[in-house]
Structures are given as structure tokens and as C-alpha cells.
């Protein structure tokens, strides 16, 4: 676009137009920079910006929820930070200052914190993270992940998920290219006469295997790179108020898990992680629905002793005793296999039969696969309840654990499909401010007992859930 040869009229005008637009937007940015002011009074920050449309924003310090810094690679080069000021309130309550020198940014943060400290807004529930950061001095580092360790973590991630993404991305890219080259690729593909190539089943199988291996390798590489980029130089530290995680190569992010806000602790491992003795840990915190996109406190791979440290922080060993255990009803095997195994298999067989493509019959293998899958799914599912907590265990090859305090529960519902009603079964859904947990196919008596017990516990509890 930037190559401007003085050819015939229309093309050149078009190019000049683009250049002019680019110039204008650059001029706009520069003007915006000179027109962007913020100043700090005793108890509020005032921002005025805008070239054509002037905007004045006033944010009282006591409405500020958190002050976060973010650095992209450009920020890092220029040694500035993006300051995000989050306030309690509706959707557009967040305020970003795109680039601020680090000392100034830190000063701004400390002004806001000291104001909030002085005005004792600490006991108000919504005032979270800022206060936490004021007490950073007592931080104790508990976890640091170096490069070899990180590579190990990267190896153990879920490659099938990345594989799926690559395939989806591949299709999208193919579609795009198709539009650009106006069906060139599919024409070429159509010209390959499948019959003439006379593929015997073995070469097809070999080809499929080759493609599968290639995809696995590709997704393996991509997950590895993504993990390293995202969790480069990961540091976790602990203070009285919570945990803090700092990580990232190009984009260093700082995420905190404030004790008071924690609702559910989630941890587990997949088949690969099991071999390597690694666990992933997720700390789910209370968040308004608007803040769902906020980064979650997630550790991709830590060792068992470290997992226990996180769990022990919220659940001392004394509260993790005398669990009463419940299992998922075996009828779940029949139902899930029927819907996700048998019916699809029938459809595949029908299509294979009608189209005469015998290779499609292999897809019917989904039926035995689903059968075995659900047998293990049912066998591994556990719900454990005691005086204080609920713990769930699930997974087929790996395991997934959820653990929460009963008093963190917000509401409970029981749902029964027509089939479940006939067999006296029910889904139990437990909702917390940090997410929901569904326990499938409990027998109705247990489900009702558990619900009544949890209601009793919640209604009796004087503890604040946040």
C-alpha cells in the first residue's frame, strides 16, 4: 500500500486516501497525547481527554477497587506501564491510562492506597485488592518456575485442545485463502481423482496416521511455546491477604488471589501430568459477571507439596476429615452411552450404508469408546461432604478436584429430567460467587438430603462469604 507509483488516477487516489488516513490517525494519537491530562486532588483523580469531544472523568478514591499495572513488550522497551483503575460499579467503570512512567504510576497507586487506609474503607467488602497491595512488604515467595521446569510443564499440557484449535484455525485460514484465490485450492483438490489414485486401505490408514502425528507434533510445539510465553519467569508469593502470581514474557501480568474472595479451589491432573507428577491449580474468586474476562489465578503445573500448600491455606487438615461419600448412579453409563455413543454410531452407520463409503463404518467405534469412557467416568466420580466442606472428584484418565466451604454457597438447585424422575435420580447444582458445580445423577434421596444439609449450614452460618 505504501508503494506509491504515480500511475493512473483511481488507484493512486485510493492509496493517497489510505496514507492520509494513516497520517490523520497518527496525528490524532499525537494530539490525544497532548490533550490527555490527569490530576490528583486530595480525594479524587480527575482525567480530561479528547480532541473534538472533551471528556472529564472524576473518580473518587474511595470508589477505586484495584489499581493494576500491565506491560506489553512495547511498554517494557519504553519502561512505562499501563495503569488500570477498576472501580466498583457498572460496566464502563474501568479507567485505563495507557502509558505512564513507572515511578509516577507507583506514586499514584500509593496515594490512592494511603487515602483508603486513612479513611478506613478497609472493612467494606468491595474494597479488596488495593489494600492487599499496601501490605506487599510481608510477601514471602513460595514458588518460582525456571525454564527447564516450565518446559516440563509445557509438555504436560492438554495438546488435544491445542490440536482442536489448530484444526479450527486451519479451516478458517483455508476458507480465507479460498476467498482470496477464488476457489483455486478446491479446484485443484477436485482434480485429484481419488479413484485413480486407487488408495488401498493400508495407504489411507498410513496417511491418516501421518496426518495425526503431524498434528500432534504441531500442537505439542504450539502449546509448549504458549506455555513458556504465558508463564515465563513465574513467581508466586504469599502474604497475609492472599497469593500473588506474576508471570509472562511479552506481557507480564500480576494476578492476586485474595483469601477473602476465594470461593472454590480447583486442582487436578491429566494423564501426562500424572506421569510427571504435576498438578494444575485454579483458585476461583468472587467476581461480578462483568469481570469474568479478568485473568484467573491459574497455575499450569506445580508439585503435590505445593498443591497442598494452596489447599492448606484455605482448608486446614482438621476440616478435611470425616467425609461422607456419595457416588454417581450407574444409570449414567447407560444414558450417556446411549446419547453420545449409540445414537451417533447409528447415524454414522446409516450414512456409511447409504453413501457406500465403507470407511465411514469405523466411526461407529465411538459407541464402544463412549461405553468404556462413561464406565470409568461413573466409577471415578465422588462427592464428599462433611461438616465444613464439599469435595468433588471426577475424570477419566486424569482427575479434577473441587473443594469449597459450605458457607460459600449462594444457592442450590435440583433438576430432574423426565428419565431421571422415573428412576428417582437428579442433578444437584451448587452455585457460588466463583462458579457453579454440577453433580450428575445422584439418587434423589441423597440429593435432597445434601441440599437440605447445605441450606441448613448456609442459613446458620454467620461467616461472610466474602
Amino acid at each position: 500500500v505504501f508503494v506509491l507509483r504515480g500511475d493512473t488516477g483511481r488507484d493512486a487516489w485510493w492509496q493517497i486516501g489510505i496514507l492520509a488516513l494513516g497520517g490523520l490517525s497518527m496525528l490524532g494519537s499525537i494530539l490525544a497525547y497532548f490533550k490527555y491530562y490527569f490530576h490528583v486532588t486530595e480525594d479524587e483523580i480527575i482525567i480530561s481527554k479528547g480532541i473534538l469531544k472533551k471528556t472529564n472523568l472524576t473518580i473518587p478514591f474511595d470508589r477505586v477497587q484495584s489499581v493494576d499495572f500491565e506491560q506489553t513488550i512495547i511498554h517494557q522497551i519504553l519502561d512505562v506501564v499501563k495503569v488500570k483503575i477498576d472501580t466498583a460499579g457498572s460496566a464502563n467503570s474501568e479507567l485505563d491510562i495507557d502509558a505512564l512512567e513507572l515511578p509516577i504510576a507507583e506514586k499514584l497507586r500509593s496515594i490512592i492506597i494511603s487515602y483508603q487506609k486513612a479513611h478506613k474503607k478497609i472493612d467494606v467488602d468491595d474494597m479488596g485488592e488495593v489494600i492487599e497491595e499496601a501490605e506487599e512488604k510481608e510477601e514471602v515467595p513460595i514458588l518460582q518456575v525456571d525454564i527447564p521446569e516450565l518446559i516440563k510443564v509445557g509438555i504436560s499440557q492438554n495438546h488435544l485442545k491445542t490440536g482442536g484449535l489448530i484444526i479450527a484455525f486451519g479451516f478458517a485460514a483455508f476458507n480465507e485463502l479460498e476467498q482470496i484465490f477464488e476457489g483455486f485450492a478446491s479446484e485443484q483438490l477436485e482434480q485429484i481423482d481419488v479413484e485413480q489414485l486407487a488408495p488401498d486401505p493400508w495407504s489411507i490408514a498410513l496417511f491418516a496416521l501421518g496426518v495425526a502425528v503431524f498434528f500432534l507434533f504441531l500442537s505439542f510445539l504450539i502449546t509448549l511455546v504458549l506455555t513458556v510465553v504465558r508463564y515465563y519467569d513465574m513467581k508466586v508469593s504469599r502474604s497475609d491477604k492472599g497469593f500473588k502470581l506474576v508471570a509472562g514474557l511479552f506481557n507480564r501480568k500480576e494476578i492476586s488471589a485474595v483469601h477473602r474472595k476465594v470461593q472454590i479451589v480447583k486442582w487436578g491432573y491429566n494423564a501426562l501430568q500424572k506421569i510427571l507428577g504435576l498438578f494444575r491449580v485454579n483458585i476461583l474468586q468472587a467476581a461480578s459477571e462483568l469481570a469474568i474476562q479478568k485473568p484467573r489465578f491459574a497455575l499450569p503445573g506445580v508439585y503435590e507439596s505445593q498443591v497442598n500448600q494452596f489447599i492448606g491455606e484455605y482448608f486446614p487438615p482438621a476440616v478435611l476429615q470425616q467425609f461422607k461419600s456419595f457416588r454417581v448412579h450407574p444409570l449414567i453409563i447407560y444414558r450417556y452411552t446411549l446419547f453420545y455413543g449409540f445414537f451417533p454410531a447409528v447415524v454414522f452407520c446409516l450414512v456409511a450404508y447409504l453413501s457406500g463409503k465403507t470407511l465411514l463404518f469405523t466411526f461407529a467405534l465411538i459407541f464402544p469408546f463412549m461405553l468404556i469412557w462413561t464406565i470409568y467416568y461413573q466409577r471415578n466420580w465422588r462427592l464428599e461432604v462433611n461438616d465444613d466442606c464439599i469435595k468433588t472428584t471426577s475424570g477419566v484418565f486424569g482427575r479434577q478436584f473441587h473443594l469449597l466451604h459450605l458457607y460459600k454457597v449462594q444457592s442450590i438447585d435440583l433438576s430432574q429430567s423426565w428419565f431421571q424422575r422415573r428412576r428417582s435420580l437428579a442433578h444437584l447444582n451448587i452455585h457460588t460467587a466463583g462458579g457453579s458445580i454440577t453433580i450428575p445423577y445422584l439418587d434423589i434421596q441423597s440429593a435432597q438430603d445434601i441440599k437440605n444439609y447445605m441450606l441448613y449450614k448456609v442459613e446458620k452460618s454467620r461467616k461472610a462469604w466474602m
Binding site: S411, D413, Q416, H431, Q448, D449, K451, S461, M466
Partner: protein, 175 residues
């Protein structure tokens, strides 16, 4: 301070499933009837489009099949309004509120008062004509955990909201 810790018999706990569920106002059945009727009318556009727009002059039977299908689906939808209405109900207890709904998939949601964030009352166009309101009770657990009781007379909805808010306040002060 005396410390008590009596053993708890789980079957002695108050059971939510044994509460008497109050039915919604009978007029609400009419509201669902109207809403379903509108829906059914929108569905009718399918066969009509087929008749007026699609080129099936030769094969009129396609239209009649579509029309028959529409009639069948409409009859089922309209026929299920009554039974579905009878499934809906709410129960207020000392410390929580429950709402049950659903004909094929039955759901009973219970929200303890000490977890209520806020409440509001909403009124649709059809509901307003019948003098009905919907009471929404919000918790911090997101949309799935919220409770919405439709088909309350407007005074009742207001009264219930005041009651719930009062209860929530009481428990807040206890804490």
C-alpha cells in the same frame, strides 16, 4: 459461655421438598397462553413463506405437510401450557425461598435470605395487562443461581420483595 454441639440427625433437618408450594396467580396461565400463541403465530410464517414465496405450485402437498406439522406442534405447545403452569410454584420459609418450574425438566431452586444481594420487580407488556409482576431475587452466584418468580399480583410482588429485603437486612445485622 456455654458451648453446645449436639449431634445432628440429617433426617431431622427441615426438608425443602416438603414445603407447601404456592401456585402462581391463575391469570398468569393466560399470560403464558398469550405468549405461546404469539410464538405459534411466528412459527406459522414457515408454512406461509413456503406457500407464497417458495416455488411449489406443482407440489402443493409440501405446503400441506408443513402446515400439518405446524398444527401438530402448535397443538402440543398450547396443550402443555396448562400442565406446565401447574408445575410452577414458590415456597417461602423462615430463612430461604424456593421456586420450582419445568414440565419435562423440573428444577427447584432455593436461595437462602442471607445470600440475597438485591431484588427487583419487572413487568412485561402482557403481564401488565393482567396486573401481574415478576419478582427477581439476585445472589452473587451469577445468572444461573438467581431466582425469578413470575405471575405474582403486583401488590403481592411488592410485599414479597419487602419481606425478602427485610429478612436479608435482619440477617445482615445478626452477622
Amino acid at each position: 459461655m456455654s458451648f453446645e454441639n449436639p449431634q445432628l440427625d440429617i433426617h431431622e433437618l427441615p426438608a425443602y421438598q416438603e414445603s407447601d408450594y404456592m401456585p402462581l396467580e391463575l391469570a398468569y396461565k393466560k399470560v403464558i397462553h398469550w405468549i405461546s400463541a404469539f410464538f405459534v403465530l411466528i412459527l406459522l410464517s414457515g408454512p406461509l413463506l413456503l406457500y407464497f414465496v417458495a416455488d411449489i405450485k406443482e407440489e402443493k402437498w409440501i405446503f400441506w405437510v408443513a402446515f400439518g406439522l405446524w398444527f401438530l406442534i402448535s397443538a402440543i405447545i398450547m396443550g402443555l401450557v396448562g400442565p406446565a403452569f401447574r408445575q410452577k410454584g414458590y415456597a417461602v420459609r423462615e430463612r430461604d425461598i424456593s421456586y420450582k418450574t419445568g414440565l419435562i425438566n423440573r428444577i427447584t431452586t432455593t436461595v437462602p435470605f442471607n445470600r440475597v444481594q438485591h431484588c427487583d420487580i419487572k413487568q412485561g407488556v402482557i403481564s401488565r395487562y393482567f396486573g401481574l409482576s415478576k419478582l427477581n431475587i439476585y445472589t452473587a452466584g451469577g445468572a444461573k443461581s438467581d431466582l425469578a418468580i413470575p405471575g405474582l399480583s403486583s401488590e403481592k410482588a411488592q410485599k414479597m420483595m419487602d419481606f425478602v429485603l427485610q429478612k436479608t437486612l435482619d440477617f445482615d445485622e445478626e452477622e
